[in-house]
Each structure stands twice: as C-alpha cells, then as structure tokens.
Symmetry: C2
Subunit: 562 residues, 2 copies
Amino acid sequence: MQSTKSLVAKHQETLEQACEAVLKRGHWSPYPEVPSGKYYGETANADGKLAFEAVLNQRFELSGPETGADTEGTFIGEECSPYGIELGINYQQHDVDSLISSAGAALAGWRNAGAEVRTAVCLEILERLNRRSFEIGYGTMHTTGQGFAMAFQAAGPHAQDRGLEAVAQAWLAMEQVPSGSVWHKPQGKHEPFVMRKRYHVVPRGISLVIACSTFPTWNTYPGLFASLVTGNPVIIKPHPQAVLPVAITVQTAQQVLQEFGFDPNLVMMAVDSAANPITQKLALHCAIRLIDYTGGNSFADWLTGNAHQARLFIEKAGVNSVLIDSVDQVDRVCQNLAFSLCLYSGQMCTTPQAILIPRDGIDTGNGRISFYQLADAITSAIEKLLSDPDRAAMILGMIPSGTTVARLQQAVNLGRVVLESKCLPHPEFSAVSYRTPLILAVEGEERQQWMQERFGPIAFLVATDGLEQSLSLVEEAISSKGAITLSVYSTDEEVLERAEQVAIERGVALSCNLDSGVYVNQSAAFSDYHATGNNPAANTSLTDMAFVADRFAVVQSRRHEV
Amino acid sequence: MQSTKSLVAKHQETLEQACEAVLKRGHWSPYPEVPSGKYYGETANADGKLAFEAVLNQRFELSGPETGADTEGTFIGEECSPYGIELGINYQQHDVDSLISSAGAALAGWRNAGAEVRTAVCLEILERLNRRSFEIGYGTMHTTGQGFAMAFQAAGPHAQDRGLEAVAQAWLAMEQVPSGSVWHKPQGKHEPFVMRKRYHVVPRGISLVIACSTFPTWNTYPGLFASLVTGNPVIIKPHPQAVLPVAITVQTAQQVLQEFGFDPNLVMMAVDSAANPITQKLALHCAIRLIDYTGGNSFADWLTGNAHQARLFIEKAGVNSVLIDSVDQVDRVCQNLAFSLCLYSGQMCTTPQAILIPRDGIDTGNGRISFYQLADAITSAIEKLLSDPDRAAMILGMIPSGTTVARLQQAVNLGRVVLESKCLPHPEFSAVSYRTPLILAVEGEERQQWMQERFGPIAFLVATDGLEQSLSLVEEAISSKGAITLSVYSTDEEVLERAEQVAIERGVALSCNLDSGVYVNQSAAFSDYHATGNNPAANTSLTDMAFVADRFAVVQSRRHEV
C-alpha cells in the first residue's frame, strides 16, 4: 500500500495553485486542453482509442456491493453510439439497499482519514483521470455524440478542471475549521474557565450524483469531487445512454482508493435501464443526504417536491439569450455566434437559443443593416462554418436522443425558417447522418414559440421593437424560464451597463461583445462561475462556496483543561 | 447623513477580531455579558427598565410598507408577561404582498452598497443593540419568562455575539470573491485571449426569519444578520407571544439603516396573531428565497414539504441526553446537572432531557453508588439550588406557554416521580407562581416515555443495563429524534473516546465531565458550533460556512480586454 503522507506532499503544490486560482480567478489549469501527443505522449491518442475499443462488447468490471457467492449478478447495458458503431458494454446492476449499505460501510474509514488525506487522494484520482483523457474522450464521443475534439476537452481536461476546482473550494472551506482550540474565559477575580475543544469535519452522509446524457463527466465531477473530498461516499447514477465515461471515472477512483488503503466502494456506479429506472428509489433513501442533478425540469421538480431528506444541487432547463443592439464588425460577430450555435448541435446548457434583434435593424461599423441583413449574415456564417463536411461533423457532433431529433423536425412550424436544418451523411461514420441547425425568425411577442427551452440545434432570431423591448424580453425569459448565459452586443457602453444590471438583477452570467475565439458557451473553471442559483435554470453555481460548504458538518467536543 | 466610509473604518478592528475569532475559535466577545454598570454605564439598568416601561400600553412604531394616506393601519398585540404585568403593546400589521413589495424595493440600494459597507452597517446595528441590552433584557424577560439575568445575557450580548459571528462568517465567504480578474489564456504562437471579468456578490432575494417564543433574539440574530449582510432584505415574523425583543431589534436596525442612507424597510417586522397567522402565506411567496425557522416539528415539516422556492435553515425539537458512566466528585457533577436542568425551566433547545444511568449504579471517587443514590444526589442538588426563592425564581424564570404547563402536569404519569414539580409563589411578582422541575425515573426500554421531546422542566433518569445499552440508546435517541447536545461523564478515557465516536457518527456536540461553571446548555459564539445539521434536530449549524454561503450568489460579466 502506498503512503498517503507522500501523496499529500506530491499534490501539495497543485492544491496550493488551485486554491490561489479559485481566489484570483484568472486563467489556470494543470490539465492540458489540447489533445496532443506533446502533452499526453506520442501514443496517447492511439492508446486511448485502443483502450476504448478494448471495453466494447465486454463486461465493464467495477467494485460494488458483494453479491452472493453463487450468483454472478445481473449485467445490463443499452448504450448506442450515435456514430453507429456497436458498443455492447454491460455493467453490473445492484439493488438500492446493497448500494446504500456498501456506501455506508465505507464511510467511517474515509471520514477518519481527514481532510488533508482525502484531498490528496482526490487530486490523485484527477491526475489518473487526466491520463485517461483520450479514452474518456472516445467513450464520451460514442455515448454523447460530441465530436472527438470537444469530447476530449469537455469530458477530459475541462471536466477535470471543474473537479479540481470543487476540491480546492472544499479544501478552503474545510481548512477554515481548526482541529481544536483552547477556550479561555476570564472570571474576574476567580480562576478562568479553560476548556479544550476538538472540531471534527464530518460528511453529511451518502451522496447521489445523477449524471446527464450529454455531459456525463463535466456536469458530474463538481458534485462527485465536492462530496467525496468532504467525506461522503458517492453513488453515481449515469444516464443509461452515457454510462461509459462514468464507468471509467468510477474505475479510476476505485483503483486509487484501493491503492491507498480505502474502500473502493466509496465511489460506486448504479446503473439502470430506461425501462426500469432506479433513480427515484435511490433519491428517496433516508441515507442519501446530498443529491447533484443535471437534467430536465420534470425530474428536477420531482426531486424538489419529494427528496426532502437531501440537500439538492440542481441544474435544469433554461432559455439563453443573445441581445444585439449594435456591433462594430458584423462578420466577426456572426462567426462567433455561428460557432456558438453549431457547437455540439446546440446541446449545451450554455448554448444561446434566442437572438434578440431590433426589427428595424442595427448600427454597425459599416452603417446600418436591417434585421434580415443581419439574419443573412448569421446564416451565411453558419453555412460557411459548416461548408467543409469534416469540420462540420467535428463541430456539430451527433444528436444522441431521438426526442431531440423529433423536436428539431417539428420545430419548423415555430416560425419563419431562415436556415433549414439539413441531414447530411457523416464523412467518417457512413452509417449515420449529422444535422445542421435550424434557425427561425419570430416576433418578440411570440413567447410560446421561443421563450421555452427547445433543446437541440434550434435557434430563434427574435424581432423586437428595439432595445427596450429586447431588454425586457430577456429579463422575462431569464426570470420565468431560467438561463445560464446571456450575451450582449453593443458599441454603447451605457447599453452594456444596462445589460450588466439585467444580469445582476436576474442572476445570469453576462458575456459582452464576444467576437473572436471565446464563445458564450464556454465556462472556464477557476474563473467563470457556471450558473448562479438565482434564476430557475439552477439552484446552485459550479463552483462557489455554497456548492461545497453544506456537504460537511462540524462536530465538536469540549472538556475542562485540567 | 453619516458617511459609510468612516463607519467602515470605525468597525474595521472589530471585524478583524471577529474573523480571527471565527477561525481560531477561542473565547472572544466585544459585548460584555455581565449586566453591570461598570460596562454599560451606572444608569444603564434603570434606563433600560424605564425604556421598557415606556413602551407598555403604547403603539410600538416601526417603519413598514406605506399605508394609504387616509388609513392609519391595523395595530395588534397579544403579548402577556409571564410575570403577570400588563404589556398592552400594539404593533402595526401589514399584509404579505405589501411587505414583499417594500422589501423588494429596498433590495437594489443595499445590494449595490457592497459587502464592505453592508458589513459595517451590520456591525453598527449590533453595537446599537448592545447599548439597548438592558431594555432588550426586560423585554425578553416579560415575553419569554426568562429570569432577568439570563434574559439580559441570552437576548443581549450572547445574541449579539451570534449575530456578529454570522456577519464575520459571511464576510469571510464574500471576501473570497474578487471584484474582478484578468483572464489571460495563452494561444500558442498566437496572441493570447485576454478577458476582463467582473464579479458581483448579489443576494438571493428576500429573507424570512421566523422567531420562536423562547429565544426571540438568540435564535433570530444569526439568520437576520447572515441574510442582511449578504444583501437580502429581511422580514422577521415574531411569535405573537414574544414580539417586543424583535420589535426593538427591528427599530434599531431601521434607525441605523436610515442614518446611513438606506431604506429602513430592509428590516421589517410582520406581526400576526395566534388566531390569524400569516407565516404560511409569507413562507410560500415566490420572492422569499431564504427562511430561517426555530420551532416545533410540525411547522418545520410543513416548511420542508411546501416552501420549495426557499432555502431552509431549520432548528426543531430534539432529545438531549446525559450519559453517566462514572464520576470523580458526585456533588460537583450533580450541582452542574441541577443547574442545567433548572435554567429557564428546561426550555432551552440545549437542555438535557434524559440522564442515562446504569441500573446497578456507578463508580465514584468515593466508591460505588447505586442508581437511586445518584438519583437522590441529583434531586438534592436541585432542591438545594432552588432552596432560596429569589435565586430559584431567577434561575427557573417562568413558563410562558399554557401548553408547556399542561405537559408538565400530565407528565407525572410517565414514570416514577423522584422529584415533584412544585408551584411556588413568585418572590417578586406576587400575581404569579413559578414551577420547579419534575424528575422521573424510567427504564431504558420505555422509549415512548423518555425518547421524545417533552419540552419544559421535565427530565428522566433512565435506568440502563450498563454502558453498552446507554451508548446504544443515546445513539438511537439522537438519530431518531435529534439532539443539539450530548453530555458524558466518565473517568475512563476510553469511554470518553467512545462517546466522541457516537457524537461524530450522529452529529451532536459533546461535552465531557462538566462539573464546574460551564453548563451543557451553554453554546458560546465564535467557539461552539450550535447544532450540526447531521441529525433531525436541525438541518444547519449556527454558525458555520454553510449557514452563510448559500445566502448570496455571484454574477459575473466578461469582455475582451482591448
């Protein structure tokens, strides 16, 4: 067994840098985001692909509750690659009570290890995950449908960044609690009262992390690592369509835990099927004290209405807006917007859905242009971006959900089509086709069309009476439907300030005049707060102090000093 | 209008000391706990009494929502002094929508003032409250029934300590968020991306603090000040029997807010009557985003099941235990226990209810004594403590609630009475009588008798098979019914360690071998964490990071640096 003491020393500098990054909020990451042999080793890509292929059509073995000696357990799996290749991976199913009981049995040893050791173990897990980024990238690509480059980044280093950020934030919270104190209370002429006190950081209980189908690691690592580092055993319930990235994560965590003498069942995976879901039973178990959930509104509302024994960290649907008032260089703005709308076929919680444009046009650096001239510029930029099929397929990725495809097909009736969605043969995976975004024009008052989440590559150009109506519709969309992002374009500082006031009032992250290689979809760990908890899209932020501080309690003892 | 800049400077040192105290957790307080002219001025007691008497049979004027020009509003009041003097104080009633609308209107100015100014204003409010400690003491005495000395301490300086602790903890959370950053991301051979980001600390919304009848300030100030300092307007809903201490608090806050140019309606009081309560309507309002509640289980459960739009901070019922394994000096232990059981007639959330003693007795520094010898020693210590009527009346105070008196009268059937509750004429207020505690002996298995909260001066000596059963019954009581405190007596270090393990597992604050002037009931701000959130008695702790961090959000904006 390896020494936890040397592990603490090994990760000390990374922890210090991560804490500084959390507090300073500049750019920082220990995990290279470029899928290059330069950072990951010349054979990393090939090795990762091989590792991915090696698990296909196999049982993926993980530690879990003991099954009876004479049963080998039930293995299930229903993942389909959106790229058409056969996956055929099976995972062992466990019943809820066994999972809870195994997690409960693992708790004490992990709690008693203390914050410093737990933090070092979590950093080691993240480092090992980083080494598996290519494998995770391929696993994510073939479950979520993301293009490989994005799958690598978002599910690999960017997710690891978010995990590390949660660990650092939790460390900052835990290290505020001293291990003890001497309470020395003067009593006038009498002897003072002197008490020696001890303070123990203890977990809340067992943590349930419910992963989504589109970002099974990026949206999961914050809750996983925030709960784990504060002492809570974690059960991850993946979406039945996106299990593999979670399974690789759990396997990596279990290996590290076991190497350092801890119960691997501190991190377990609970698989289920679309036909026989177990999430509700898990979520209502009295031992589950923390639940992280990313997904649709109806299950989010069910959790809120029923899982009263648990503290809920929820991210659900929203309607993200772009408000265009005036721009300097139309082309640059449209290129930026085109990429934001196309990336992963609009299946990001940060993707804009509504672009509000004054009906009578906008001022630009080259004079005034009409609503439809701007619409043309946006659609042309999209067409140009997608003109090369290889690039198009890489940026757009695939749509894994039939529901999303059906929504896209029906959406043509929601407004005037300014850009049709096309279904095009995939240049690499010939069995499947990818789809380009649908862009519709609607009036601002047509709220029932654009002011509700239309998940997928569906965006609206919303014609408004002008700045005042644009601002007020944006406010209404955020406060009634929620939003993670707001983007504004204006050459007028006063308009930018007004947008900032809207952002403050409605609790949304604002991006101003993005017109180069930074996109509104992107949220960088250590610098950007993802969601605020102040509008219906989420009740929490990744990752602030509130996201971590309620995952542990402090238990104290006191006695007279003699 | 006074300058907020000088106010920040004025309180800088106190804030720094408070933050250091929160992090070091030794003894510290800027508010003298002794009701002495030496600290508060020679005439402070007389002045405070006069100030209290001056509000009797009057309308207590506070700022609130505008009433129509031609209506003077409805004034109500139903407080009765448990000491029999007439109070006759009336407070203006407001409807829920007006309160919410006024609070909402006050929000922006307070939010925009920033964390530093809000913190200084809160410290000024606390300082002014401290100057009114005698008045608050008399107001608390004549609503809660506490003896004056306790009312002064608990509702005055000790409550102020808890408020200051919340301010300091919230300051530590807010100051972690920088006002801005420069995000400088290298792009290989290309120019780096440079973005300038701004971070705004913004409140969650409007905060509702629901006060209880027994500790209207001590249990209220943490939530009030944690919410206020993080930018949330606060509406306090006092218990109809204990309005005055809340009203004095609100008046003081409003005066300070107004002096420094803020809307006094940032802190408002919502009065109701037992017959026409408004708490449910308030609690369900969509603008209420934070609710602090101290009180009974049924309303706590209603809040949890219904007020889903709000983050709840709840303290409810519990069964606190004392486990006696062995003691050195029986007399000292019994004196300590006697005081704990008598103080404010057992109406503290920290008062022990069950004292678990091995049926076959315990070892002491003077040899073994039987269960009944120990019972006799405890009851004798209580009788001796209460032998002087003046002292007895001061320690016991009065029971303000008829329900509690009725519970006490019926409780004689719950076990073998080892000490009868007596009803004795009050030495100072001749119209009323005070009551002494009822002590009953029961068997450990008689859970239905002792293992549920019997609020009031009712305690059980619980006979167990020995240490093992005592420990297991204590664990069961904490995990099934909740507890804020656990007290253990043992001369064996191993037993103390086992009790500490129980405390860690079940999430309760442990006191070991208290046998002098520190009582298990007492929880000192800056040093003791009050409740843990890890058992049914509370979902939060006063005051840790989790108590404050979720009361604000961070909203960011970003733009390219040009």
